[in-house]
Symmetry: C2
Subunit: 110 residues, 2 copies
DNA sequence: ATCTGATAGATCGTGCAACGATACATTACC
DNA sequence: GGTAATGTATCGTTGCACGATCTATCAGAT
């Protein structure tokens, strides 16, 4: 399968990260891999986007960090959702579904 | 129905405009109304986004303009898709569907 | 012992697009 | 004559995704 990657539209990265962390707390590198994997290589998170996004989310209180050691025995920063982060995830998910449905409506218009 | 509007993610506006013009050639103001209407008031195109987008699309050759008179007897600039614009619309539609499906995959992940 | 690749985190500058505010002109209607 | 609706347009701000680049450590191969 040729993986034709797509630029993430502004704002969608936060949502993807939050959702990934809702499944399981994880470090940045793994989050990126996870998103790519679940989306069948369609979504690829660049490192130049990933780390600023994580810092942004932490600064806003949606996630919190904690240093640890990865499965590969490397120093890694583990992120977990906060309570407000979970709220944020729900709201953003809802907003995305709404947007997605609305755009689909326009695209399918006759 | 309370219309809770959503900020358009970067890039989606071009797609919406192109699609609207594929239905029927139209002037800017009407394009904006159309999108809003078809999407049940979810998508609202700001004028500060609309006109720059139209100029952008014209500059890139996806659409072409022609002055005319609106149904309300006002001076209006009518836009129509060009052939390359139609190609662009197809490609962007495909890309959006792909993205949308990929994000949905992540959001629905267990 | 050294080299290489994978893993992990981070920053910086650039580019681009959506937004809010604002401006202006014309038509229709009161 | 005043006001609302219609229609086009620009400007400055903001925010984010991206590519390039840097650092560090560990595992395995040479």
């Amino acid at each position: 399968m040729p993986d034709q990657r797509i630029d993430l539209p502004q704002g969608s990265l936060d949502l993807l990260i939050l959702k990934t962390l809702a499944l399981e707390q994880q470090h940045g590198w793994a989050i990126s891999e996870r998103i790519q994997q679940i989306s069948s290589n369609v979504l690829q998170v660049q490192q130049g986007s990933l780390y600023p996004a994580l810092h942004r989310l932490e600064r806003r209180g949606w996630i919190k960090a904690q240093w640890g050691v990865s499965e590969n025995n490397r120093r890694a920063k583990y992120y977990a959702l906060t309570r407000t982060g979970r709220k944020k995830l729900e709201a953003d998910t809802e907003a995305w579904r709404k947007l997605s449905a609305a755009v689909a409506q326009v695209l399918d218009a006759v």
